[in-house]
Subunit: 697 residues, 2 copies
């Protein structure tokens, strides 16, 4: 399949699928575990999972702090996720001599398992509704600033109380963009060890060209083991292994953490994403992808250092382009307009509802005008785009230390959300991370972003002048990266132990930079929190109320990177008149590679080439289903009615990308690795018989 | 050398070299052939080339319409340029089965030489000053619109008269941004045939990572033969071959066509480039580079189709980043400010000069405010960024046909410059080009640029609505590319033959698009021509006058892609305390490849690997000199005092990139392929003994 064919298919089919599915939403939904789609499952599939079934799946699922999902697949603390979710850990463990990403890894014995750097796994133990308490904290008639502050205080307090009482990680989650607030309690694991990873060449076979495409042939898995007190966790909530995997047309269920969707956004909000936010993000992605690619191309070691981050930008670029294509399609937007019109008309017909909720759409629009005005500062300063050293680079560490000292000196109720008492341990894990920080790589990224900073604020801007201190962006980046001592974790610990006084007295150039930009950054954050987010929470709470009143409460909220249940069937689809079968086979991988003459990124690992004869080439490799997933679901287990593991989500096809704001399953599909391929590969390619046997036991 | 090392060097050394060379400009200058640097050559090198020497070099030099320089290197019409200048021709000749770029080519006999598609070579025959006539046409006190129109009419008329009288291509060239107007007459060659090209792997060895770097090991050459009336041209003005090439410290001269420099720009103008124009161009480059890279990565054939265009963007990105780094360096801008201050103070001290020229700087600034306001429209519409199908793609063809019909119906004096009578033949060569237009590749580019168009003008813009016609950008691109018949050259000829009536009646979708956007596009062009360019010409004419008065007339104008003479010495330099020798050797290429384990783009062609033993590995390969060159000089011959060919310019190092607006030769260097490497490779790698013997004969 060429880029153009699939892209054209996408363009050609969006309008089609909208027309066909205007009222047939199929297997839509990212359901809360405390509000599962009982009716849909019963009506359509005659399946009625009971509370035990659901709770078992909930506790077998795990959320990865690096941004994905996973599940316990054995009683011995074994957790499976995608290779591209484990990649953050693989990258941080890697050295010039050991490239775990590229070469893969297998610990034949527990002693060989490698402890990961700053990886946290969260298992959802309970959900409690706290909407009333959170909303009650906000005095009637409070202005947005007061409302935000009292709401934040209430949430920080609820979390602190829960943590103190239960010892569990406690997060108040905002659902329906403000319609509900629920307290999620997690068992948190921080001793996570690497057990198995395949080579990147088969985990991400087809690379960026095949990303978000189908048919696919990716062994996108990675196995970790969770430890407590130096011993593997013994847990009863793990998934049994399905003997044969799921068949064509079979019901499957997915438990995972979809990251963010915009399905309930107002049309004005979607237009804002289309016209302002996403284009601005795309410009950043294009630029950074080029910076990373050119850095990578200079040497094999550079490529190793940048590989995980480069993948992140490539992946974001391709996903975002798919979403933008949908938002730029008049037929898609017309559907959203019609839906909004219908809801607003229903609200207008009910005077009480109109009085309570009728103003919400205008309030969202007003908040977006504020967002448009503060976007530049919020992005450059608060999101740190002007000081890019990577997500866990020197600048975020410097800012984290500066703010940690300042915020923890305040009462818990007055702190910025991420510095709430209940979150400090997780934050410290990042601040004191021993993940490698390569000076050359840090410098390249920082120099580019300082140059961008100068570009968008202008050379005469006072803060730009102070940040650059009379140097060129590159000279300044060199000075900052080479001058800072933050590469030394002991230095960071000592600095933080000294509190605000030590931070303020520090002459470390990166700490000085973080201090210098903090007032402007906090100012942008304050505007965003109080004038964008808070009014949106209030307005979307009204819209949610209207929707509950008009459409009933059998609804699911937009994704929030918290645990959700999705369902669907294993099902092929039609593309340009061609029938795409529901699964591929291991033999197909060899054929696909041959079609590209084994040219990068279509080359198979040597081990796969050598052992081709051993493999049953008819073994299902990847399969598609209609379950409703988005980014963040990567690594989610796919189970059958018996709750058995039949596969692991790793991607969606191009036509699924618009699921970010509208679900339609005519040709949109979730992609999963088939359980059979996992066992087949472990046994015959990797000689990991013991590990294969451990799965599901 | 890693990216960071060289980049850091650059940052670190800019300030240094500015300090060191504030008054020592070294071998600066891109001199007019009718105002050569006699005094400098005499004073510094005791060299006094006479008129015959200069005219011989002038006529041995050739300009490539694809954007580079070259020279006659035999009496048999043989012309040498860079591989990356010939690449446009190689790309257009290529097919899925014959990739001349990748595989190279050698015509052992004249019969095997391949005629190129739409390649034009221009040889400068004479220069005549027409400043008085051009300026006299502008009535005193005329407003900018009238001034622009009368000036354009005068230039079109002068060129038409000259063409009719001499039969030579006649261009009025604007020098000193409006200080002088000179009539350049060229002998034009359009039957140009491919004789020899090496493989891209050695022509562009090191690829993007090594581009603009040194040491280098590139056989960046390509040989064509010029025909007239079906026979090779017999010419006396060709370069003899130097037996040994140039030695360390030896004076060398370069005849070529530097494309564009901004050295005489006012500081406000440079700030405009830094803050507005270049960032906007960079955003486009980043985006298009990603579009082309992702298209390329899908298959080997895609990569072949996109390779020349992808190189263009990669090259532009790296060059522009170097220039921007200079403009963002406070030390560099301070030097420009000091220079401007000194000139303005000198003007202010002379009441007559102050009266005539004193307002010029403010006038330039005023023109830039207009430019800033019209930039979006000018770029999207008139430059066609919203309808990108490549430089010679379907949209430029459609627009060219629409405008050709309209413009040629007007008197010559009233036409847009590029449709002046004297330029029509060259234009037609492009409009009727048989170069391949791949539908998939055209669609990908057009879809992306239509998406950008929607993004920057908004979905509610009326013209956007008309252009997209209710479709998504991708659907519309598919419709346009697949619906147009412009891929058929006969259709184009017929359409143009029908004149305005046929164009207006055409229902070809691409012609309809070109018609649709033309009013808005012409409006932006009119504002640019009359309110930006014309006032700048007038203002810069005053600044040029001031400079002549203050600094004397021994000055050179900014580059205009016309023939210039530069000079310098073969000379190494120091980088981070390390001495970089003036030349590399053929043996160095093998070592450099080995350092990267032969990994792309550091792999040598199979032929080079096989024949390593035959080669004298000590043969000089590339060398550096201080001659003042920029983009457009690619392919320029480097000659010694005897006028013998000693090398061919193909690049500059990173520190030379700021030469766009300030020359400094502390560590900035021009890069050339050494004449000895050319003969050695032709003989021993390519078995092209006859061709090697022909050189210089």
């Amino acid at each position: 399949m060429t880029a153009r064919t699939s892209a054209r298919v996408m363009g050609a089919t969006i309008a089609l699928l909208i027309a066909a599915s205007a009222f047939a939403r199929g297997d839509e939904g990212m359901w809360l575990f405390n509000n599962p789609p009982r009716k849909q499952l019963q009506d359509k599939y005659h399946f009625a999972p009971d509370r035990v079934w659901l709770e078992h799946l909930q506790r077998a699922a795990a959320r990865f702090s690096s941004g994905g999902s996973g599940s316990f697949v054995a009683s011995t603390g074994l957790v499976m996720t995608n290779h591209h979710v484990g990649a953050d850990a693989l990258q941080k463990l890697g050295t010039q001599d050991h490239d775990y990403m590229k070469m893969g890894f297998y610990a034949k014995t527990p002693a060989e398992e490698i402890k990961c750097v700053d990886l946290e796994l969260d298992v959802l133990m309970s959900i409690e509704d706290v909407t009333e308490r959170v909303n009650a904290a906000v005095p009637p008639g409070a202005d947005a600033a007061a409302a935000h502050q009292t709401r934040r205080a209430a949430m920080n307090t609820i979390e602190k109380e829960s943590l103190d009482r239960t010892g569990l990680r406690s997060d108040v989650v905002t659902l329906y963009q403000g319609g509900l607030y629920q307290l999620y309690r997690y068992k948190k694991y921080t001793d996570v060890r690497l057990v198995f990873a395949p080579e990147a060449a088969i985990a991400f076979f087809g690379g960026d060209p095949d990303n978000f495409e189908y048919p696919r042939y990716d062994l996108d898995i990675c196995l970790f083991r969770v430890y407590e007190n130096g011993q593997p966790v013994k847990n009863q909530d793990y998934l049994r292994w399905s003997a044969a995997g799921a068949g064509d047309g079979e019901l499957v269920l997915v438990a995972g953490n979809p990251g963010k969707t915009d399905r309930q956004d107002t049309v004005a909000h979607l237009e804002f994403l289309r016209d302002r936010l996403f284009p601005s993000q795309m410009r950043k992605i294009y630029r950074r992808e080029i910076v990373l690619r050119t850095f990578s191309e200079r040497s094999a070691e550079n490529a190793r250092r940048a590989q995980d981050e480069l993948f992140m930008y490539e992946n974001a670029r391709k996903a975002r382009l798919g979403v933008l294509a949908g938002l730029q399609d008049p037929a898609v937007m017309e559907r959203k307009r019609a839906e909004e019109r219908a809801l607003r008309e229903a609200v207008a017909r009910d005077p009480r509802l109109q009085n309570e909720c009728g103003s919400a759409w205008d309030e969202v629009a007003a908040s977006l005008r504020v967002f448009a005005a503060v976007l530049k500062d919020y992005d450059a300063m608060e999101q740190g785009a002007a000081f890019n050293t990577g997500m866990t680079g020197l600048f975020p560490i410097a800012r984290g230390l500066v703010r940690m000292a300042e915020e923890t000196a305040k009462p818990n109720t007055e702190r910025l959300r991420e510095y709430r008492q209940s979150n400090l341990d997780s934050l410290k894990q990042l601040l004191f991370s021993t993940a490698p920080l390569y000076e050359d790589f840090q410098t390249v990224k920082l120099a580019d972003s300082l140059s961008w900073f100068l570009e968008i604020y202008g050379a005469d801007n006072e803060l730009v002048g102070k940040v650059l201190a009379g140097k060129s962006p590159r000279q300044r980046a060199v000075e900052l990266v080479h001058g800072t001592r933050l590469g030394d974790v002991a230095f960071r610990r000592k600095l933080l132990a000294g509190g605000v006084r030590a931070i303020e007295a520090s002459d470390d150039p990166m700490i000085e930079l973080a201090r210098l930009v903090d007032p402007a950054s906090r100012q942008a954050r304050k505007i965003y929190d109080e004038k964008v987010e808070e009014p949106q929470h209030q307005a979307y709470a009204k819209i949610a109320k209207a929707r509950f009143a008009v459409e009933g409460t059998n609804l699911y909220p937009d994704a929030t990177f918290t645990l959700r249940l999705a369902y669907g069937v294993v099902k092929g689809y039609t593309e340009l008149g061609r029938q795409i079968p529901p699964w591929t086979t291991i033999g197909g991988a060899y054929r696909h590679s041959a079609e590209h003459n084994g040219r990068e990124p279509f080359g198979l690992p040597p081990r796969w080439l050598e052992r081709k004869q051993r493999l049953d080439l008819r073994t299902p490799f990847n399969f598609v289903c209609t379950a409703d997933i988005v980014g963040g679901n990567s690594g989610s287990p796919v189970v059958n009615r018996q709750g058995e593991f039949v596969g692991i989500i790793f991607d969606g096809n191009l036509d699924s990308l618009i699921w970010d704001f509208v679900y339609a399953a005519d040709s949109g599909r979730s992609l999963a690795v088939h359980s059979s391929a996992i066992r087949e590969a472990l046994r015959k390619v990797y000689d990991a018989q013991a590990l294969a046997d451990e799965l599901g036991r």
